[in-house]
Subunit: 211 residues, 2 copies
């Protein structure tokens, strides 16, 4: 299985390449070379060629990559040839923003259920879905066939909710609470931490102010 | 200036180390070694030692790192020894969630102004701040002395707003709109893209389902 060797940093760039390729497709480019891709993605051509080489022999030397074929291939590698089903757990302001984010379907994801613990929210409309109570979490996840959970609960309960998600069969969690989750092997977690992003920005500010 | 050589991947881990060290401080540990830090951060000890070695000669062989000293040092490197001032631009659901996020102050940031274009929102309360009109963006930023902007505007206007932020003196932008910003050299941008995070999770799901 060649995918096992794809470095994590390359995996993280694949969604960016895919976005650029979809843009190229919209602009009706049949073929794209690594220099053009690098320009669109804000990368460099050598990096693009190296990253794509992990996925197999894809381009034609001196010509470039077939746009349609490369879109199909990266989509396959990313496992989004069919839409993956996700649930949102925690329907506060952040959960609400996520539910109403219109970019997910075109990127391969569909939100199929929303859960919250607050009796005032349960049963209300969540952009076309009904907010379901936390008591229905496990049954609801199995019912809708969700694989991914977007966790937007308050930090103190996030671990406990994550445990329930895992026991309900969820194998991938996008965690928006500022808390490190402990999950069994085989469950993928990505932590969205805006404080961390701000600190990285601050590093660049500090560096500039020192030079 | 030794900081210029710190690899970007190391920079991205510094906020995580800082968070672990603050936890160690809370637990009243005077000294921490790389094995303990790696355990807390979900990393490995060699990585921790290598990353910290970029910041200078910090630990004592066979003993470890002085927790207080290392907190102070990483905070200096990240430029958060004093709180940095940030503005939120776009006070929709996402902007609202960001404004009310209580984790920023303890991580070195303070939100000092909120802007929106919607007349229905202008003048209303934003967790203790008043939502200001976009017309006041440049003057407002200078007035409050903000260095960082958190951009939560609709995608179609984000580039145009980013241009105004840069001309008002903003040198770091956390962009939450799903659009790639073009900014002059010397302005740092971090893109928060949840679709990208979901696609990376999906890669791990796809890989597992194939093996």
């Amino acid at each position: 299985m060649e995918r096992a060797q794809v470095p994590e940093t390359t995996i993280q760039r694949l969604p960016v390449y895919l976005r650029c390729l979809l843009q190229a497709q919209q602009e009706r480019m049949p073929v794209i070379n690594s220099v053009q891709m690098a320009e669109m993605c804000g990368s460099n051509a050598a990096q693009v060629r190296k990253d794509l080489s992990y996925l197999g022999e894809l381009g034609t030397r001196g010509i470039g990559y077939d746009v349609e074929a490369l879109i199909a291939h990266i989509s396959r590698v990313l496992g989004i040839t069919e839409r993956r089903r996700a649930v949102v757990v925690g329907y506060g302001r952040l959960g609400g923003a996520l539910r109403s984010y219109t970019g997910f379907p075109e990127r391969g994801f569909e939100i199929v259920a929303v859960f919250d613990a607050d009796p005032a929210k349960i049963g209300t409309d969540a952009d076309g879905l009904v907010v379901r109570p936390m008591e229905e979490l496990e049954d609801g996840i199995r019912e809708v066939g969700a694989e991914i959970a977007i966790l937007a609960t308050p930090a103190p309960v996030s671990q406990q909710v994550a445990d329930r998600l895992v026991s309900a069969g969820i194998r991938a969690i996008l965690n928006l609470a500022p808390v490190r989750l402990h999950v069994p092997a085989g469950v993928a977690v990505r932590q969205v931490c805006l404080s961390t992003d701000l600190q990285i920005l601050s590093f660049h500010l500090a560096q500039e102010q020192l030079t």
